[in-house]
């Protein structure tokens, strides 16, 4: 049984609604969820089931229509946009399916981006970026531009970028969706390592059952509701 201190993210009665033309769409409805620290949680479900919406809410990219989202004991659902941006920079690392690297910046510069938001010396930044790139196995690709990297390498840079500021939570939206099997396995192995050795908490959205198997828990979402939880 998890104690309240063990819970990194707690969602209670989270509903998300938006208007699409005249129609009111409810991608998430009255959702309750606890994500313990050090968890590796995979969320599965059909398209439109609300997986990415939930991921966006957990990471402070979006805000719920109603309900509460607590992160490490602090409610984030009503933070103003400016504060939410700062909160994201400190606490969340986001990994995208299509990597979303800035094409005009090198691997080093892409990874350095989150650190520019902190008051940190250039030397400290360099050390942390190099450490993050080493951790993902790309110490020899520091000065490469995204176009000079393979898909798997790009995703590793994206992971380095997500973890360089040492956030407690890593959220990953289909992180292996654009990769071949071998590269996907390597990325999943890397996420497992981050959970095991760096004590990160990972919430991952995936369609791929093999990817989900790499997680410690799997949640199924359907029509905005949690259907079942598997351990």
């Amino acid at each position: 049984m998890s104690t309240s201190n063990d819970i990194l993210v707690r969602c209670r009665g989270v509903t998300k609604q938006y208007k699409k033309g005249e129609t009111l769409v409810t991608p998430l409805e009255s959702l309750d969820l606890d994500v313990p620290r050090g968890d590796f949680l995979a969320m599965m479900g059909p398209s439109g089931s609300g997986k990415t919406t939930l991921l966006n809410l957990l990471s402070g990219i979006d805000q719920p229509t109603s309900g509460t989202i607590e992160f490490d004991g602090m409610e984030i659902q009503d933070l103003p946009r400016r504060k939410l941006a700062g909160w994201r920079a400190r606490h969340v690392g986001y990994i995208f399916q299509l990597y979303h690297l800035v094409p005009v910046l090198t691997a080093f510069e892409n990874v350095e981006l989150p650190l520019l938001l902190d008051d940190m010396s250039r030397r400290d930044r360099r050390e942390r970026v190099e450490a993050a790139l080493s951790l993902v196995g790309l110490a020899d690709r520091v000065h490469h531009y995204p176009r000079e990297l393979s898909g798997g390498q790009e995703q590793r840079v994206a992971i380095a970028r997500a973890l360089v500021a040492d956030p407690a939570l890593l959220v990953a939206d289909e992180p292996t969706g654009d990769l071949d099997r071998e590269a996907a396995d390597a990325i999943l192995g890397l996420l497992q390592t981050l959970v095991r050795e760096q004590h990160k908490t990972v919430v991952m959205v995936t369609h791929d059952p093999r990817a989900a198997d790499a997680a410690m828990r799997i949640l199924h979402l359907e029509k905005g509701r949690l259907q079942e939880a598997a351990v």
Binding site: T52, T53, N56, S59, I61, D62, R81, R82, A85, G86, R88, A89, R90, Y94, F96, H100, V102, P103, V104, L105, E109, L113, P114, L116, L117, R161
Partner: protein
């Protein structure tokens, strides 16, 4: 803040787009600098053309145009004898009767040009102290002297107006006796000739004006003289004031140059909108990613403006270089005279300000449009 290098490298993403934006900015800056240089040159020349010591006696009712003015031949003699405080040089009083006549002149190469001809006596040199003869001699009967910029006004090369050549006025040949300078004034584009010759050629019995250079006298003395001699129907006006009025007369021309420049700049800004809409729109997801990482919208906006400003300021630099090459010392002639364009500090300032405005105004709407979608929506794009 996003690193400055990000804005710099974004410039090179699409070299064709960069070249288009640079060329557009440079063209607008060149145009604005041209308008500024023209207006400044015109204003400077007209302001310098009148001497504060000189008073022009014009025919009453013709204060706006010396060419239309008719002053009795006797006026110069009477003014010379009656007016107190007139400057005297070597026992000669600085009172100059003059005829202004717009005439067709046949150049040595056979071409015919319209130019401002001023009929003068030697006394003109006493009143117009900026005039100095650079080459040759002052014109006597049968002779003409040209200002050093008259070639431009008359549409010939400078070599075509060498002393000794012949110019025809109403088919009467006149020998070019000299070339004079009158720095920064409209006189430099005029043709000067003997007063009596021009009176005959223009078939007039009057002069256009009598220019009086005051030394110790007051303008009021000249006004009293004009009021006392009602028979001469004179209207005194300070020479400087006359040219200031002339400058005011050209205000619509100056306004038109500015309006044209502003219209073209506006069109360029709209073209810039399109270019930047395309440039920024292709990066909506990337910009959303930066926000997802934790950069505020304001930081992204500043970076986009930096990017736009760099292009427009590079364009301004290019435009300024072009302006320096193409406009400096270029001569523009209007009916009043020839103006020399000068690319000075104020012209450069106008160019830089234009670049800054293009950069900021051109970037804002595309940037706002790019930042408008919600983060989840932009990340999905």
């Amino acid at each position: 803040m996003l690193p400055f290098g990000y804005a710099v490298r974004n410039l090179y993403r699409n070299k064709t787009r960069l070249a288009q934006t640079l060329a557009g900015s440079a063209l607008v800056v060149l145009l604005v600098m041209g308008a500024q240089a023209l207006n400044a040159g015109m204003r400077r020349t007209l302001n310098a053309s009148g001497s504060p010591d000189n008073v022009m006696l014009l025919g009453a009712g013709s204060e706006e145009s010396v060419q239309r003015s008719e002053v009795s031949e006797q006026a110069a003699g009477i003014a010379e004898a009656s007016l107190a405080g007139v400057a005297t040089v070597m026992d000669t009083r600085a009172v100059s009767p003059e005829i202004f006549h717009m005439a067709y002149l046949e150049m040595p190469d056979g071409s015919i040009s319209r130019g401002m001809v001023r009929g003068v006596t030697h006394r003109a040199l006493l009143t117009h102290r900026r005039v100095s003869i650079q080459e040759g001699i002052f014109p006597g009967p049968g002779q003409m002297m040209v200002g050093r910029l008259a070639w431009k006004r008359l549409g010939v090369t400078p070599d075509a107006l060498e002393p000794g050549t012949t110019i025809l006025l109403d088919e009467i040949p006149f020998t070019l006796s000299g070339i004079f300078a009158a720095p920064g004034t409209v006189m430099e584009s005029e043709v000067w000739m003997d007063l009596n010759d021009l009176r005959t050629a223009a078939q007039r019995e009057t002069v256009s004006s009598v220019v009086v250079r005051l030394e110790s006298g007051e303008r009021e003395d000249v006004e009293i003289f004009a009021r006392q001699r009602l028979d001469l129907e004179l209207s005194p006006i300070g020479e400087k004031e006359y040219y200031e009025r002339l400058a005011a007369f050209y205000a619509p021309v100056r306004s038109m140059t500015w309006i044209t420049a502003v219209l073209i700049a506006t069109a360029a800004i709209f073209a810039g909108f399109n270019t930047l809409y395309a440039a920024f729109a292709s990066r909506v997801r990337e910009i959303a990613t930066l926000q997802a990482i934790g950069f505020r919208r304001s930081a992204v906006l500043v970076s986009l403006i930096q990017e736009s400003m760099m292009t427009s300021l590079l364009g301004a630099l290019l435009g300024s270089v072009l302006a320096s090459i193409l406009l400096t010392d270029r001569l523009i002639h209007l009916s009043t005279g020839t103006f020399r364009l000068t690319v000075g500090p104020e012209t450069l300032f106008a160019g830089i300000i234009t670049g800054v405005i293009l950069g900021i105004v051109g970037a804002l709407p595309p940037a706002f449009r790019c930042l408008k979608p919600s983060l989840p929506q932009a990340l999905r794009d």
